[in-house]
C-alpha cells in the first residue's frame, strides 16, 4: 500500500517519497509531490526519531531563513529556543519508548526561531509517518503573527469601546452625580450657617454646635466617597481580571444608581444573596454592564407607570450549577415579544436618542468573561436581564 500516493492525506508517506525516487513509474508522482510541498504556504519539515531534519520545503526556507541544504541534517532544535529544545528531546524519547504522543494529532502554538535568531509565533501540527520504524515525523509550521496581531488589536478595540461607552455613561450620569454631590454640599453649607447663628445666640448650646460640626465632617466624607466612586467608574486600565465579589461591585454602584433612579423618579432596591462565590472578572467592565442594564430599566419604567410605583431591583444569587447571577429587574412595560430576538443586536434600539449599542456591548463584555447575558420577562410584569458568570476557581486565595 505504500507505493501509491493516496489523495487526501495531509502529507506523503516517506516511503512513498523513497519509492518514488527509485521507481520510474512513479517519477511523475514524485515531481507532483515536490510541487505540492513547494507550493504550500505552511512550512513543512520532516524529521527522524532523533530530531534530525530530513526534508525542508520552500515555505520553510522562506519562513525560517535556512536553505533546504543548510537545514537538512541539522537537529530540529535549531528552530527552537533552549527550553523547547530540551522538552522536544524528551517528547521524542517518550514517544519512541511508549508511543505516548505529545502534540501529534492536536497541534499547539509555539515560538519558532529563525536563522537570524528572531522569533515568531506559529501553530505547529505534527503527524507520525505510518509504518516507519524508527518513527519519522512531519511538522507543519503555520505562521500566526498576523492573526495574533489582529487578535490583540481586536482585544484592544474591545477595551477601548468599553472605555468609551463607560465614559459616555458617566457623561450621561453626570447630572445625577451633580445632584448627588449637591446634597452633601448643601447640607454642609446649611449646617455651617446654622452653627454660626447658634453661636450668635445669647446662650449658645455648645454641644449642639459641636454635634453639627461633626455632621459637617461626615458630609465632607460622603462627598469624597461619591467622587471616588465616580472616578473608579471612569478608570480606563481595568480590563485585568481578578476574583471579585459581585455584591461588592453592586454596592460600589449603589450611590450612583440611587441618584440616577431619583432623577428618573424611580425607586431602587437591591437584594444581595449571602455566601456567594467570587467571580473572576474585570470589576469595572461588569459594573459597566450593570449600569447599562440599570439605565435601560430606568428609562423603561420612568416613562410609563400606570399608577403603580416605578421600581428597579437588582438581585444577586448563586445558581444550582454554581454560577453567580446578577439580575436587573423592572416593572415597566417589558420587551415586546417581537423584539426579544433582536435587542442584543448592534443598532437595535427602541429609544429616540439611543445608539443601540448598549446591550450589544454589554453582551460582548459578558461573552469575553465566558458568561451569559439573557432577557426574560419579569414576574409579574416588566423586564428582567440575567447576567451569569462562572465562579472563580476555589483555590484562589
Amino acid at each position: 500500500m505504500e507505493d501509491t500516493y493516496r489523495p487526501g492525506r495531509a502529507f506523503p508517506d516517506n516511503a512513498l517519497l523513497q519509492n518514488a525516487k527509485q521507481s520510474p513509474l512513479t517519477n511523475i508522482n514524485y515531481r507532483e509531490l515536490q510541487a505540492v510541498l513547494d507550493a504550500a504556504v505552511d512550512g513543512i519539515i520532516i524529521i527522524d526519531h532523533r530530531g534530525s531534519i530530513r526534508s525542508f520545503n520552500r515555505a520553510a526556507e522562506r519562513l525560517l531563513g535556512f536553505t533546504s541544504a543548510e537545514a537538512i541534517g541539522q537537529n530540529i532544535g535549531i528552530l527552537m529556543n533552549r527550553d523547547d529544545q530540551n522538552d522536544h528531546d524528551g517528547f521524542l524519547r517518550r514517544y519512541q519508548e511508549n508511543r505516548i504522543p505529545h502534540i501529534i494529532g492536536t497541534g499547539r502554538d509555539v515560538t519558532v526561531r529563525r536563522k537570524d535568531g528572531t522569533v515568531f509565533p506559529a501553530h505547529l501540527s505534527v503527524g507520525a509517518i505510518a509504518g516507519e520504524e524508527p518513527p519519522r515525523f512531519v511538522g507543519f509550521i503555520h505562521d500566526i503573527t498576523d492573526s495574533r496581531r489582529m487578535q490583540a488589536e481586536s482585544h484592544q478595540l474591545q477595551d477601548r469601546l468599553t472605555y468609551v461607552s463607560r465614559l459616555a455613561t458617566v457623561g450621561e450620569m453626570a447630572s445625577g452625580i451633580a445632584h448627588e454631590l449637591n446634597q452633601p454640599l448643601a447640607a454642609m453649607a446649611t449646617y455651617a450657617h446654622a452653627c454660626d447663628r447658634l453661636l450668635g445666640l445669647p446662650q449658645p448650646d455648645i454641644e449642639e454646635v459641636r454635634s453639627a460640626l461633626k455632621l459637617i465632617a461626615d458630609q465632607a466624607v460622603r462627598a469624597g466617597d461619591i467622587i471616588r466612586r465616580m472616578r473608579s467608574l471612569a478608570r480606563s486600565e481595568e480590563s485585568a481580571r481578578a476574583p471579585v465579589s459581585v455584591n461588592t461591585l453592586i454596592n460600589e454602584l449603589a450611590t450612583l444608581i440611587n441618584s440616577d433612579a431619583k432623577a428618573h423618579g424611580v425607586s431602587y432596591r437591591q437584594e444581595l444573596g449571602t455566601g456567594l462565590s467570587d467571580v473572576c472578572a474585570s470589576g469595572a467592565q461588569i459594573q459597566q454592564v450593570v449600569v447599562n442594564l440599570v439605565r435601560n430599566a430606568l428609562e423603561a419604567v420612568g416613562g410609563s407607570h400606570a399608577g403603580r410605583p416605578a421600581e428597579v431591583l437588582i438581585v444577586t444569587r448563586q445558581l444550582l450549577d454554581g454560577r453567580v447571577e446578577i439580575s436587573v429587574r423592572d416593572n415597566g412595560p417589558g420587551v415586546p415579544q417581537a423584539l426579544r430576538e433582536q435587542i442584543f443586536d448592534p443598532f437595535c434600539t427602541t429609544k429616540a436618542a439611543g445608539t443601540g449599542l448598549g446591550l450589544a456591548i454589554s453582551r460582548s463584555i459578558v461573552a469575553a468573561h465566558e458568561g451569559t447575558l439573557e432577557y426574560e420577562p419579569n414576574v409579574p410584569d416588566g423586564a428582567r436581564f440575567n447576567l451569569r458568570l462562572d465562579p472563580a476557581r476555589m483555590n484562589t486565595p
Partner: protein
C-alpha cells in the same frame, strides 16, 4: 379661636439636607416639622396649620412637583419654597406656574433661604387672614333672606331706591328697610364697601 404658631415644614428625602435646614430654622427660632417624603407630609398635613413648606423637587416615589399638584387640588394655601440640586429651568418654570412661592438651588446662601421663609410665613398669614375674612363675608351673605339678596343685587348694580321699589313691586319704604337690614347683616358701613365684598366673593367663587 386661638392663633396657632406657624410651623416650617421641611420635606426632603436626604437626611443630612433635611436635618441641616431644621437646625438653621431652629437657630432662627422657627418651629419645624421634618418629613422624609411627600407621602409622609400628605398623611400628616393639617390645612388649618399655618406655616410654609420647604420642598425638595426630586424625590423617589411622589416628587415635589406632584406634591404641589396634590396640594393645589386640595385647595391648600401653604406657600411652597422649592429647593433643587439641579439648575433645571423647565422644572422651575413649571413649579412657579403652579403657584410655587419661590425656587432655590442647592447649595443656597442661608440669607436667601431665611429671607424667603420669612416672606412665605408673612404671605401665609395674610392668605389665611384674607381667607378668614372671605369666609365671614360668605357666612353673612348666607344669612340674608331671598328678598334681601334681591335687594343686595340691585343695590350693588347701582339702582336707586325708587327704581328698585318699582322692579320689586313694593313700596319705597319697604326697600329702605330691606336695604338697611342688608347693610347691617353684611357689616357694611358704605355702599362702596358692600360692592367690594360682593366682588371679592364673586372672584373667590370663580377661582
Amino acid at each position: 379661636m386661638k392663633e396657632r404658631p406657624p410651623l416650617v415644614f421641611i420635606v426632603d428625602d436626604d437626611d443630612a439636607v433635611r436635618n441641616s435646614i431644621r437646625l438653621l430654622m431652629k437657630s432662627l427660632g422657627h418651629a419645624t416639622q421634618t418629613l422624609p417624603s411627600a407621602k409622609a407630609f400628605l398623611t400628616t398635613y393639617d390645612p388649618e396649620q399655618p406655616g410654609c413648606l420647604i420642598l425638595d423637587v426630586r424625590m423617589p416615589g411622589m416628587s415635589g412637583l406632584e406634591l404641589q399638584q396634590e396640594l393645589n387640588i386640595r385647595g391648600a394655601v401653604i406657600p411652597v419654597i422649592f429647593i433643587t440640586g439641579h439648575g433645571d429651568v423647565p422644572m422651575a418654570v413649571e413649579a412657579m406656574q403652579q403657584g410655587a412661592f419661590d425656587f432655590l438651588q442647592k447649595p443656597f446662601r442661608d440669607q436667601d433661604l431665611i429671607e424667603r421663609v420669612q416672606r412665605a410665613l408673612t404671605k401665609d398669614q395674610s392668605n389665611r387672614a384674607e381667607l378668614g375674612e372671605r369666609a365671614k363675608v360668605r357666612e353673612r351673605f348666607e344669612s340674608l333672606t331671598p328678598r334681601e339678596r334681591e335687594v343686595l343685587a340691585l343695590v350693588t348694580s347701582g339702582k336707586a331706591n325708587k327704581v328698585m321699589a318699582a322692579d320689586l313691586d313694593v313700596s319705597q319704604r319697604t326697600v329702605e328697610i330691606h336695604r338697611s337690614r342688608v347693610m347691617e347683616k353684611m357689616h357694611a358701613t358704605s355702599l362702596a364697601q358692600l360692592v367690594r365684598m360682593m366682588l371679592d366673593l364673586e372672584e373667590s367663587k370663580q377661582s
